[in-house]
């Protein structure tokens, strides 16, 4: 065999994950998924390969540029999902006759963006989305805020703010300054860049698109010290939507301290029409870790009926980075809590039986595959960070005992073999 080897490379902005990382990620995904299920959301999946027209033309200029699209061998335009909201709106339009409306779904899938890869930005990454379609009630918005708070706290993130605003409100304010409808979307895109470009440049860019009273508009939109003050400042415009949302959220147990009403927060995507969210961790420079909002007209792009939807995406990769930075996830190279060693051929029967009783009791375990010296077996456990090792040599077998060694301390304990399962279960970190 002398064939030329294929280089085992992967594409820029994509990743291979080692077991230790996948174990970590799955743990976190599980927490998020359980929380979604707690609030009554059900899972769906949508295709990765989509007709290009499903995906394109929904995200604004910037999003359009970042969408992967190509022609397949049959010349059809294909696009990969840029987010999970648009594919879901399409899914709902195609299937609503078979779904309970209002429909609450969660979806944890990969999405693709042709970004320049950098910290916290990959080309292929996971999003964890929840959406409710078919209800205009602001209870939906409040519930989503509640889920954001519950999930982040459960993950150990407690320095976040849910920035909220309303597209309806921004539109009304812009209108009150005489901004014509045609300039609203370009303006929102400029306002959305506020953290990147600063006020002066914003005013400049606004002027470039023919808005000369940019400074006034911006000062009107500037948030005050408290949600209430901001609300009061904007009371001439209709703030009742946000007020009702915040009242529902408060009744749902969402403390006002998590919420920050920021009239300048715009979310660049074109499809939002009502309340919008953006969640940031205050002591981190990662940017938004969750984002979402109300979209009234997305489904009607795919069907004749009109269904309003609202949802939020948890940026899984950024959340993982945050948790890692803060050591809120532990590294596990294996899922096993126990390695059952095999002393020699004659002890194998006992070892297999111990292994069986551990797994039958629901304790993640594995048996050493081979007849190597015990030291080598210990090294294997050490490498895989398996906390407990079970040893049954001739002495133990004779005395009907078993020795359990903790790999981190090296301490050994010999107990009656009938107590093995209870002994391991009794450790708080073994459960």
């Amino acid at each position: 065999m002398n064939a030329k080897k294929i280089s085992p490379i992967i594409l820029k902005g994509t990743r291979d994950f080692l077991p230790s990382e996948v174990i970590q990620r799955k743990k976190i995904m599980d927490i998020i998924q359980k929380m979604f299920e707690k609030f009554g959301y059900v899972p769906v999946e949508t295709p990765i390969l989509c007709p290009a027209e499903t995906i394109l033309g929904k995200y604004g200029e910037e999003g359009e540029k970042l969408t992967y699209n190509f022609k397949d061998a049959g010349g059809r335009g294909i696009a990969l999902p840029y987010d999970l909201t648009v594919p879901f709106a399409r899914y709902f339009a195609a299937n609503y006759n078979n779904l309970e409306v209002p429909f609450k779904r969660y979806q944890i899938q990969r999405v693709w963006r042709a970004e320049k890869p950098q910290k916290g930005r990959l080309r292929e990454f996971y999003q964890c989305d929840i959406d409710i379609i078919g209800s205009k009630s602001l209870i939906c918005e409040a519930e989503i805020a509640k889920i954001i708070v519950s999930t982040l706290l459960e993950l150990g993130i407690d320095d976040f703010k849910i920035k909220i605003n309303s597209r309806r409100l921004i539109n009304a304010i812009l209108k009150s300054f005489g901004i014509p409808d045609s300039k609203v979307t370009p303006m929102i895109r400029i306002i959305d860049k506020k953290d990147k470009i600063g006020e002066e440049q914003m005013v400049q860019e606004l002027s470039n698109i023919g808005v000369e009273n940019g400074l006034e508009v911006l000062s009107r939109l500037k948030p005050m010290n408290s949600n209430k003050e901001t609300m009061d400042k904007l009371r001439d415009s209709d703030v009742s939507e946000l007020e009702t949302f915040m009242r529902y959220a408060s009744d749902l147990g969402v403390d006002d301290k998590w919420i920050q009403f920021d009239p300048m927060m715009a979310r660049g995507l074109d499809y939002y029409t009502g309340v919008i969210y953006e969640v940031v961790s205050e002591n981190s420079s990662l940017g938004a870790i969750c984002a979402g909002g109300r979209y009234d007209d997305l489904c009607s792009m795919f069907c004749d009926q009109n269904f309003s939807g609202v949802g939020v995406a948890f940026g899984f990769e950024r959340i993982m980075m945050l948790l890692k930075e803060r050591m809120l996830v532990v590294e596990n190279k294996s899922c096993s809590n126990v390695l059952v060693t095999v002393f020699d051929e004659s002890a194998l029967k006992k070892s297999l039986s111990a292994y069986n009783s551990l797994v039958e009791a629901g304790i993640n375990s594995e048996i050493y595959l081979g007849l190597d010296k015990l030291n080598k077996q210990f090294k294997y456990a050490d490498k895989k960070k398996i906390p407990f090792v079970v040893i049954q040599g001739p002495e133990e077998i004779l005395a009907k005992t078993v020795t359990v060694k903790r790999m981190d301390t090296g301490k050994q304990k010999t107990i009656p073999d009938s107590q093995l399962v209870e002994y391991i279960k009794g450790y708080y970190e073994a459960n």
Binding site: D408, T409, K413, Q419, Y423, G426, Y427
Partner: protein, 195 residues
């Protein structure tokens, strides 16, 4: 008007003193034969006699307005009750004890050992705080005899005078925390206690 309901122990070490405490507010508790609910002469107060561990459950659910319960019970499980005040009686300790001739002498000797207890959560917290990894063997009662039977190497239990420990050949090596009777109240209730 609904009576004020106070839950106290139906039997056990806090019962007598709880009754005395209530009497000190001038309550005249009428003895009922089967004793689940005691009425009070001339006052709209009822005494509920329930299992010690259930007292916070009654109070949390609002079935009782107040309860008298050992801090050890509150420490073991999370209840949504307000602690009104400590009452100064029913003092006891949650301790770790080992057989007299045991090689276990300090906290760190507990590493890897088996500790029997009916207070698994309190013990777990204590071990975690002290970074000790040990196996917690949960038993409901008669904790003191478990080392003798080869079930455990140490026990974690409530003791008042230390007599029971001694009788079972055990000696205390660590105090985990001191407990006494507490007056508790429903988390949502702002009722005044007797005056």
């Amino acid at each position: 008007m609904k009576p004020i309901r106070i839950a106290i122990q139906n039997k056990g070490r806090l019962k007598e003193e709880s009754v005395e405490f209530l009497k000190s507010f001038g309550l005249k508790i009428l003895n009922s034969d089967r004793g689940l609910i005691g009425k009070c002469e001339g006052q709209n107060v009822e005494i509920l006699y329930v299992r010690h561990g259930d007292i916070p459950v009654y109070v949390q659910s609002g079935a009782a307005d107040f309860g008298i319960v050992g801090a050890n019970v509150l420490n073991e499980r999370k209840f949504y009750v307000k602690k009104n005040k400590s009452l100064g009686f029913g003092k006891c300790k949650l301790v770790i004890a080992v057989p007299k001739n045991s090689g276990i002498k300090t906290i760190s000797d507990l590493e890897g050992e088996r500790i029997a207890t009916s207070y698994p959560n309190s013990l777990k917290r204590f071990l975690k705080e002290n970074e000790i990894n040990a196996s917690i063997i949960e038993v409901r009662g008669s904790v003191e005899i478990s080392p003798l039977l080869g079930l455990s190497d140490a026990i974690c239990d409530i003791t008042q005078t230390g007599e029971t420990l001694k009788e079972n050949g055990l000696k205390k090596i660590i105090d985990i925390f001191e407990s006494e009777a507490c007056l508790i109240q429903n988390g949502f209730s702002d009722k005044e206690f007797l005056n």
